[in-house]
Symmetry: D2
């Protein structure tokens, strides 16, 4: 990249009001059983370490905000719980037992289907730290503080009395390797991610736009994010962002010399927003591996229709798309694979070699429940 003349600069971070942060710290210190919810601001503010430090000082479980576009806390940490469900009732149920919810760097909250319930567990209060005045204004509940997440956590940590109780053991559900023992074809998404997890490299970036498979991906080893700046997806659920985003991330890895491989899990429907991005990646010699779990449908919208009890929604099937042919049309290496070993081989090879590879994998068409029970 060429140099650019810079004529003037402005600060890009704001720190917390000391009086406000002191109020927040006092609330936390007085809480009997606080819980933390982390969001994408933390990742963007480079606050991974500060987030860990804060969680360990408060010694409270950490959830990922619903539909979070980044992961800001190691998912293998003993304090990590899971992603919060994106619906009013289930979310407050998940937080039951806590008297204080501390949200850092996330909206309060991103909801997807409407499911009745309270915003918070009875008796609980909420504090939000966000770098967005807009998010502060529109939070449905709680008191807000506008600040860069990292700077706020640094100040907060100074004022928090550490809790010395035993760390709470993690409950994040993860897939067990047994699921690969007795395979029927087509694979389930869970099995596909188990297959891909066998050869997960030490360092990688995971990009996903595979709506109905997010929970299964998250429970796999591949989808369990333990390092900073390793996970990117669309904010909320706006599709079409991740294919071009993956190209941008691969550019950054190349230019910076970090050279982490970019792994993309891309739904067959979501693939259609910007297949052209593949061409850009190919032309620029980037390293991207795209795996497409193909269920030939907008799966999650069928789950949605189930939850909302609206049968016969038209236009949710996606037959007759040849992902391999599309990918080759834009110059990528492309393969169809339906057997576990083939997928594993192709995935390993793709990660090992530079260039753009697309792997199309048929998966079963079982309609999942939109919300876990």
């Amino acid at each position: 990249m060429e140099d650019i003349d810079v004529f003037r600069t402005t600060s890009t971070r704001t720190a917390p009001d000391p009086a406000r942060i002191a109020e927040f710290a006092a609330h936390i210190n007085q809480s009997k059983n606080p819980v933390l919810v982390y969001g994408g601001d933390i990742a963007r503010s480079d606050g991974w370490d500060e987030g860990i430090a804060l969680a360990e000082t408060v010694n409270a479980p950490v959830w990922n905000g619903p539909f979070s576009e980044r992961i800001s806390f190691p998912e293998n940490h003993p304090l990590f719980k899971d992603a919060l469900p994106a619906a009013i009732g289930p979310l407050s149920k998940a937080l039951q037992g806590h008297d204080l919810v501390v949200v850092i760097g996330a909206p309060v909250f991103r909801y997807y289907p409407w499911v009745a319930g309270d915003y918070l567990p009875t008796g609980a209060t909420l504090l939000q730290i966000t770098d967005s005045p807009y998010e502060a204004a529109k939070a449905v509940v709680g008191d807000s503080l506008v600040s860069d997440s990292k700077l706020a956590m640094i100040e907060l940590s100074k004022l928090i009395t550490p809790r010395n109780s035993q760390p709470q053991p993690t409950t994040k559900p993860t897939s067990t390797p047994e699921i690969l023992e007795d395979i029927k074809y087509p694979l389930t998404a869970k099995q596909l991610f188990a297959v891909l997890s066998v050869h997960v490299p030490e360092d990688y970036i995971l990009v996903q736009e595979s709506p109905s498979n997010i929970p299964e991906l998250s429970r796999s080893r591949l989808g369990t994010i333990c390092k900073p700046d390793s996970y990117y997806t669309m904010g909320s659920g706006g599709l079409g962002w991740d294919m071009p985003a993956a190209v941008g991330l691969a550019f950054a890895e190349k230019w910076s010399g970090r050279n982490r491989p970019v792994i993309v899990i891309m739904g067959d429907g979501s693939f259609q927003y910007s297949p052209q991005a593949i061409w850009t990646a190919v032309q620029h010699g980037l390293h991207i591996t795209i795996v497409v779990p193909k269920n030939e449908e907008y799966g999650i919208l069928k789950s949605f229709a189930l939850l909302e009890e609206t049968p016969n929604v038209p236009g949710l099937d996606l037959p007759g798309i040849d992902i391999v042919s599309l990918a080759k049309g834009y110059g990528a290496k492309a393969h169809f694979a339906d057997k576990a070993e083939d997928i594993q081989d192709l995935f390993k090879k793709a990660l090992g070699n530079n260039g753009v590879t697309v792997i199309e994998v048929p998966i079963d068409k079982h309609i999942h429940a939109l919300l876990d029970d």
Copy 2:
């Protein structure tokens, strides 16, 4: 299509103010040498016949407005001239000799590159009839009347004194068959259109989004539009509209039982805006034939760079795209052809059979002048 409940209706046409139309008629009657410019409103108002009647009464040459999205007048009519150039100077030069310019159903005017000059030939005045208050307000020159084109032409015709002079012989330039005699490969666009013109059916719809080849297409038999509602392209030059538009037109032909084949000439760059439209067409069993003249570049932008004397514009090349593979990815029949006979055969077969066919044809990469001299 299912029936739809209609709760209320509003009129969709407005007629001309009689006083204003009388003024316009008087102007035309007083003119020594008027000229007509027709635009897309006429086609949309179903005014094909009224446009011919008016032209023959005034006995004046008819131009198509620059960058017109429809053709509203038979291009084989003795009074038809050509499409006006889309630039200030060249446009007024083309109208030289006329003392009155009557624009019906078009903006005044759509310009593309800036080329110095007067808006009108010296001494000439302009009248505009448009159904759009916005276009009336923003016309750069002339007096405007807001009305449906067809209704305005009906009223106007009643007040115009017919001119009995000999019809002026047409000057619309057309390609001659000789251009097929001595072919070198890859074909020029002119030759490709000559090849396609051999088997042009009696009735068809032509859709085009092939910026650098518009003049050649227009001069071919295929591109010479002689029947109403047979030609559609993007308004002004906004790409990405024609692929989905062709699908909509094919739907209409199917549902209405008219069943005219839809022929699409689609640049290899323009193809990339909505290749997904092919999938919709395939799934619905529509009849569309898409020919892609592939020059592996954004050809017209290179012509633009030439005119503007801005060398080294990056990003204008489009190597490495396999149109056949893309089209097959969405389920279309797809063929590569570079020989005249093969193209002719494939085109004839595509027109004869239902379904979606894409024919990729490499053409030569000569950069044309943006404006004719």
Copy 3:
């Protein structure tokens, strides 16, 4: 006024689509008992005579649209009824018995308080002619035709079969002179308007912004408008427009040489939006007579609170304003008068002499019902 260079013009009227107007005429011809509702477009399109001709051809009663900003039909005409009530239920009740409602030049409809009911009497249909695409789109019921009112009425009249039945006798309620026989002070608004009506000139312009007194004014001789272009008020109920509007009208009377006196009835609350307008009028030597019926309150908002059953609305009283002092502050002749003879004398003198005169008259503070029963 100085001359202004005019570079280009556009038409300002559109005529009706002949097909649509024929449909509308057929509807009217088939109706057993149509009713007409006239609005401000007619006045603005200079369609006073055409409105009378149409009404007499159809031989149907004519209502003024609710909250109309102009009066477009002579209120002493045997076919004139009254202004329609500005509420859903009462409006359709007023139109009961008609099978067809033809609205020309008015919104469908302006409503003020919400009062439950049907939009139309059972079985009735509605046609609207409006020059505003926006009003056509947002009409709550009926079919619309977009056109200048005058041009539409000219075309409509050609297609209507005259109805020869006896003219229906008018029912417009008017105040009788007796109300002046037994006066108690302070005057009621009804009495004030009766007093002012004694010396009403042959030609005048009436401007009013006196919300709670509109019905009484309308029933007085002063408020009964029988000539074109003689009445102006705010569109809908947006206050603050009439004081400056009166100044503009007085300018127009002066410059045009028509020299009709401008009479303004201005509520003491409404007076406060733009008292500065008086200064402009004084400085330009205009002829305006402003009568302020002073009830020391936002009277109509108290009526509104009554209807809505919301007692104790604060801020509806306006004590301690000296209108005479304000008017003098801006250079007008100004008088306080509470006795019938004094008011009459001052009003007569003000109309006789050029210049700006403000007459402040205390009236009684009885809270009217917002809607007549």
Copy 4:
């Protein structure tokens, strides 16, 4: 005032990014000859004392930002200079000799007439601290930091090396009492303010909207602001704000029990935007004293016309307005006074008694230069 339910709160201040504030501090420490420009943010952030502390640490002169809506620094402080001129060339001329301009809590910059010149003295750089991201983005020159002013100054002060050089003597020009020795009538604005300055109370709020007289007011004792939260005017030059603002301030003084008198200097033109505000003040028994220097014109616009060399601008005269009559119309005590002693007496009495008093004082109509030389 009644209590209000508060459901949620958000922080209203943001603190500076520590890294950015350190950069700013380093710049200041390295500067040879810095200058400070203070704006309204400081007053709003309650940073009066911090502003003094910072100025004394840096030991640099303090200017008030051009067209500042508040005064944030004691104008009798030895480091106070003056208000900066609101024009490009004159502003940078005023700052000549400084190598660093530190703007805190103000736009960079508010300009009124366009006068050619550099944004900054040659070789100088600029730092801005503002609580408005919008102002940070639109500053014409310099580097910006977004933060509450008070919090930023607290942090900055910790990092600044105090400069021990002798304080620079103030140069703020002030009117001398001699100007009252030899009075001709009508008074000049300078004399009027000198008259009013004789009995200036210990504590008061000054509100002004008297465009052409701002410099003279500022140089008088009345207009020399030495205490926090004592001065309010329109931001930039948008008229019509100060009359209602004075009412709001008087409410606040009453409710808070501070009971400082509110003194308003209101141009005869500016008075016309919201004379109705007087009524509100009267009805609520507030204590406001409004002095109207009446030159019967939009004086400053005549100065503007002079500077721009555009003679014969129409509509700049304001004859025939009786301010006393207007004020009485809304229930205020109101007096005309043209003699020094009368003005002094009336002013003293008005300040001593509760209630609203308006004093109309004719002043001479000399057209000032828009910018001092």
